[in-house]
Symmetry: D2
Subunit: 142 residues, 4 copies
């Protein structure tokens, strides 16, 4: 896919830096390309649910941000992005040392952009899919 | 709705107490009845997204837990609960002093339970819906 | 909820009359109020899936139309409506003589309206929920 | 992906042949491989919504069946399949001569299988995505 200008990475990273939650949970943005963004998270005990796996809400938070910024990367410079809605399936327990969330634009649009995302767990060096998302993002004029 | 025995509240609260994420974000369980659970969260700057509202992932986390425990409240004593999938719509910015997530069982089942949930923001004393969820929960034998 | 003018029912019924699929499957609109629409369908063998129940796609079609028209009923006269996305859970087999789909507006908006819907089966005189939907509808200027 | 035995195509096609709705709308199954199934539909006026495009419910029906049979193709011989839930985004109007729905298994499971699907429209020889789905299917012992 093609971004509208060369500032897309800078704009995406600046906005991500303002997501206080991402700092709180220790997530970092490891890749920004037009229409695709990767966010990674290390396992932490204080992010778990009752079985010791990372809570679905945290897994959702990183793939939601990855999808939102994938959408933003294709929007014009004066844009903000908002999550309209998403659906996620949790296909394996979120168990591992590290989690890699990738968001991709399926269909860009003037107002609404549809994205898909997934989260892989890296557990003892092996990758395994833990969640998959389908999301609708909205452009805001800022 | 009717729980199978009188231990449902104790079982739900014991499991919730083990969700480390809920402590990390400062969420508390304020109501447990058969088929309905309420979880509340105070606004905190370190849970926000780029516009200063609470991140969709955090809103999702509390209503996911509320839905999961609403499902668990109707299950037999030897049960655990797992989120199969959910879909959430974000209908207003998560702006306010406090957020009230309610999860309700729509259809209990032996293996799968369908729940709906919503999150209200309390902003200067007024309540406003910020999100609505439809979720599928799965019973585990433990 | 409140419609913007008194023509809402006429506008909704006129648009429904143009949905050729609804005629094809034999669905009829039985109630139109501001923010809530009911569509009913009689069981027909030619609408079934492999187990003899009504196909999920047909159940989805009637509750999608009910949700879309619930949204349209609150929009100004020069509006059309389009389904952005939906999610549906199928909680019991679609077995019965008749199916009643109700769509309700959860949150109206200038561009996007969020609706919820459900489908009841009437089987030997008893009502049973077969599906529940959460949907996003979009206003078009026409 | 790998099917458990060589009868998967026969089993999938036999079950599809019993979906009366697919005959009613004129859909045909054009490809069955392990974990992936394609269903095609020709445009027909009697399947449209109010703007003359194919109704979202019909688009959903073909991609739901494609996803369900993709799941069934990986299940043991004594299995039936049921749709637990799905979410679909409609990214362009369903306009064209022909529609191609592909269902793919994302994660097979003993009880639950997660699938994704999409529908392409063929319009004057060009393909365009009209819908994308994320679905949960359940195995039944038959």
């Amino acid at each position: 896919m093609k971004s509208v200008d060369s500032t897309f990475e800078e704009r995406v990273r600046a906005s991500f830096a303002q997501q206080a939650l991402m700092k709180t949970i220790g997530a970092s943005m490891t890749k920004v390309s037009p229409g695709e963004v990767v966010i990674e998270l290390a396992f932490r005990e204080d992010l778990t649910q009752q079985h010791g796996f990372v809570h679905a809400g945290v897994i959702t938070a990183i793939v939601d941000s990855a999808c939102g910024y994938a959408a933003l990367s294709l929007m014009p410079p004066d844009s903000g992005v908002l999550t309209v809605e998403y659906k996620a399936n949790f296909v394996s327990p979120a168990k591992g040392e590290r989690f890699i969330a990738t968001g991709r634009v399926v269909k860009p649009g003037r107002t609404l952009t549809v994205c898909s995302g997934d989260v892989l767990a890296v557990d003892e060096g092996k990758e395994k899919i833990v969640a998959t998302m389908l999301a609708t993002m909205m452009r805001l004029s800022v």
